[in-house]
């Protein structure tokens, strides 16, 4: 993901547009439209597949259907936090606000997805474990992650110049990375109520074939949605920066006029 974000940036042609104020389509572009259509088609496949067509589990019966939504959402929450961490690191290193904007956008998604992880997990826990919530290692560390994300977003509202704000945020943003590692490893490091990972890229994956297929479809579709949201959110932040930092209507037009021969 990060490499894609990064490599998308340099050397873009898109300067050809001479219009001053395109009434314009907001934050959409051909890419997001294609992504959006793909995501909607994906949802149309994923929902019936996950909710109706997929087989029941020997132990959990129909509760296995929680797996297809909860796990992709949780994975994308982790990915969002890692993108924020990477963006923060790159900002501290290169001092380009582009990275700060990427980090901030991903953190917002991270907060949304972490909250959804907690909610879907809760709704799974009640019928499966017999409780909505318990302070085991996985749940506690996820709650810590949620708090850190909220702290990060609150910090972004604090006053300051764009650069001081970006620097502060980047330092907190870096903290997300170890926190995500802890959440990820909590079920292996400590005794917890939450079960260990089912999907292991390196080890064996402990789920039946049709279920695995269903999960992969779900992960793909949810990733498309995530990417669509991230791009739009990034562009909104980018517009906010533009408006904050430039007195656009005045300064830019005035200077453009000045610059004309």
């Amino acid at each position: 993901m990060t490499t894609q974000l990064a490599s998308g940036a340099p050397g873009s042609p898109g300067l050809a547009n001479p219009a001053e104020h395109g009434g314009g389509p907001g934050t959409g572009s051909r890419t997001t439209r294609a992504l959006g259509v793909a995501a909607l088609l994906g949802v149309a496949v994923f929902v019936p597949l996950g909710l109706v067509l997929s087989p029941e589990d020997v132990m959990q019966n129909d509760l296995v259907r929680m797996f297809y939504i909860h796990v992709p959402v949780a994975i994308l929450a982790f990915v969002s936090c890692l993108v924020t961490g990477a963006g923060s690191f790159m900002y501290l290193w290169r001092r380009q606000l582009w990275w700060d904007t990427a980090a901030c956008s991903a953190a917002q998604l991270g907060a949304v997805y972490t909250a959804l992880t907690l909610v879907t997990g809760s709704l799974w826990g009640r019928p499966a474990w017999g409780t909505y919530w318990d302070w085991d290692a996985r749940l506690t560390s996820t709650a810590m992650l949620m708090l850190l994300l909220l702290g990060y977003l609150a910090l972004r509202k604090a006053p300051g110049t764009a650069d001081s704000q970006a620097k502060r945020s980047a330092i907190v943003g870096l903290l997300l990375v170890p926190n995500v590692m802890i959440v990820r490893q909590s079920v292996d490091w400590w005794r917890s109520l939450h079960q260990p990972a089912t999907i292991n890229l390196l080890g064996n994956t402990r789920i039946g074939g049709t279920m695995l297929f269903c999960f992969v479809v779900g992960l793909a579709v949810m990733s498309l949605i995530w990417l669509w949201l991230l791009i739009h959110r990034f562009r909104v932040s980018w517009l906010e920066h533009q408006i904050d930092r430039l007195d656009l209507a005045g300064a830019l037009l005035a200077r453009r006029a000045e610059g004309q021969p």
């Binding site: 940036a9 898109g14 132990m59 085991d136 506690t140 903290l175 909590s186 007195d247």
Partner: protein, 192 residues
């Protein structure tokens, strides 16, 4: 093709030439050649001036690194201490005397023996590591409760330490998912 860059904030034409300066927010109109500095007009105060000293950045990076490591260690310690989440059944038996009638959580697999209903709950036993513990549970067990399932019980040893008296059962289901055999599924569905 105009669209190849998803997030192309950085791609002002001069991005390559002035790495320190050209944040994407360069005010200069594109019609003028590179570089926003120099031209005196309304340059917002928030536009970052080029940072000369590299020393400052190294310092910040070092501080960040130290804070990160410290936070990581603290978090691991704190969570680790708070996370003797349960005793396994064999440990609970071995530490009977220290545990006394104190309240704690215990993990075990529900034994295959039929679960008896008592007037106010269920009687069954759980095993872990070759040790079996009889359990008297008050209340209804959760729906996934059945023989062979790992459960976390909350409760305490009875006064004579013979039985675990539990009032809360959490089913700790495993990470394995196995499809129900379609034949068995239809059989189960038709059953009452």
């Amino acid at each position: 093709m105009d669209d190849t860059s998803l997030f192309d904030g950085e791609s002002t034409p001069d991005a390559g030439e002035l790495p320190a300066m050209t944040d994407e927010l360069d005010l200069t109109p594109r019609t003028t050649p590179a570089g926003g500095e120099g031209s005196g007009a309304a340059r917002p105060s928030t536009v970052r001036e080029a940072k000369g000293p590299r020393k400052g950045r190294g310092y910040v990076a070092a501080v960040v690194l130290v804070v990160l490591v410290a936070a990581g260690i603290l978090a691991v310690k704190a969570l680790g201490n708070a996370t003797l989440y349960f005793y396994q059944a064999d440990e609970a038996v071995a530490q009977k005397e220290e545990l006394s009638t104190k309240r704690f959580r215990m993990l075990g697999f529900v034994d295959g023996a039929p679960v008896q209903r008592s007037s106010d709950g269920v009687l069954f036993s759980v095993s872990y590591g070759g040790t079996t513990v009889p359990v008297r549970h008050v209340g209804d067990p959760p729906q996934l409760f059945k023989a062979g399932v790992p459960v976390v019980l909350e409760g305490h040893w009875s006064a004579d330490r013979s039985t675990f008296e539990s009032d809360r059962i959490l089913v700790k289901h495993t990470e394995d998912y196995v499809e129900k055999n379609p034949d068995r599924k239809t059989a189960a569905d038709s059953a009452p």
